[in-house]
Amino acid sequence: MSSPLRTPMPSSDQTHPNPQVRLSVEQASYVYAPNPSQAPLFTLEALSFHAKPGEIVAILGPNASGKSTLLKLISGALEPLSGRVFLNGFATHSLPPKIRAQRIALVQQESRLLFPSRAWEFVLQGRHAYGRRLHFESEEDINIAKNALAQVGASHLSDRWMDQISGGEKQRVILARALAQQPLLLLLDEPTLHLDIGAQVDLLDSLRHLAAVNRYTVIVVTHELNLVGEYADRVVLLQKGKCLRVGSPASVYQRELLEQVFQAPLTVEMTVAGRPRVTLLGKT
């Protein structure tokens, strides 16, 4: 198929005893208070977990549980109040913007464009992090962008206008842009919100494949219990700013725990492959 997208590995790993670990969140916390004199609006309490290359980690929880905040800490958009977030030994927040964009790619749900652009233009934006201050895209950039579109199965959308394609197609192009960044860490914020079930499965399948082939570390923020159960290698369960458990889906999906977090009666079964499946029960 298409060649894996790779960047040279960054050098320093000395701070980490385990070279296998790529992302290390260590007792990171955050407090959001617009006014120092007022009580904080939201607190994300200190939590820790690790992620390896090729892994898919799901940040799972109901609304307002702190998922987005945690994602922002991982992406380096926010600086943790305490503790640290390390990507291959570098604190994500302190990375210069260009370097950070070469290591971390964020896929958001929607992309508002002021002036319309074509899909290929959109994907090429992912190469911005690799150019000098004012540069024109090179052959290599173009090839990488083409590659990225192919990897998400959206090559046929290359010349289409972004505001004229469907939600699912747009999602793929946005993902292609992230791939064009050749990141180590691929972050997705509620990627399945606007997708139908088939598209959701397609997306997660692609992510699993890409993580394996390109050795990405994928972090997905979501509240979709069954998708997480089926595809994630590791789950970080959050509720109201607290991390309740970290581990494989099988270990995290305990009925009492899930019922408490999601406030809904449910049952948990194990499939043949060792993956948990959650069935919601109606309130009687």
Partner: protein, 346 residues
Amino acid sequence: MRPLTLGRLLLRCSFLAVILFVVVVIALKLGAVQVSLYGLGRDLIRVLLGQSSAISSDYGMIVVDIRLPRILLAIVVGASLSVAGAGFQALLRNPLADPYVLGVSSGAAVGSILALMLENQLALSPEFAGLITPLGAFLGAAITISGVYLLGRREGQMDSNTLLLGGVITMSFLQAIITFLMSTLAGGNLRGASFWLMGSLSTLPPKSLLYLVGIGFVVAAGAIYTTASDLNLLLAGEREAMHLGVDVPRVRIVVYVAASILTAFAVSVSGSIGYVGLLVPHAMRLLFGSDHRMLLPTSAFGGAIAVVIADTIARTVVAPSEISVGAVTALVGAPFFIYLLRRRLS
């Protein structure tokens, strides 16, 4: 997949440069006084070869000493306003932004009125006298720029929406001050009112000022151009741009200061000429696309062409009298703006 290449950019710019050249030649030929093309060409060549003293015709002096500086001024002003307009549209992520939306021109007007009042009190030697008003305008603009920047911050960072609000409020406030000053000044100073309302290129500036504005343009426009790739991404939203590798705070400051300087310079020598900064970038987007690496240079050329044409119309249509440049740009600009709006909506 055809991304922008350097070759395409140079080609488009050369094309526009040729158009600009033709427009300039026509503008040099037209005027209250008739000039022949042959004589024009001969005199211009003499000037370029440094043999200006050989120009004996009256027309030579008119062309070289009066029309040429005026046209050069029009070029710099038009280019400055258009690049500033494109910059502000990207910075504020608002297609309706123009160089004056943040109140820079009102600040310049206040500064120049105060300078005019001061000038009447002092008796200055001729070399300085001509510079007092533009200097006052520039200082007024600079103070406004700083003030609006401070107003436009949220959580210590420049925020587009807050900036826009701050700018609009500042502009209204300054307009009120202008009205107040105008109504309390002695009659003689009221003559300047139309200059600030409608813009004018008819005052022959001292050569030093022309150089200064030109250098200012090159420096400021160059600074904005270094952020051209970043601006493409900034349009998608600041969060996204940051995650794609744009140093958002740095880009914001550079564009804000550079675009404000461009506007301040333009306004201090020519008053507020409207519609150029707003519409030329849109026209260039229609023709050449939204990529800022192409948009900024083409806007510069487009603005220069537009203002030279507008100024030529302004000074020939009712010769020997003149109408103001701003009136011409408004008359042409407003219908074009309506056309653009309808295009976007359809």
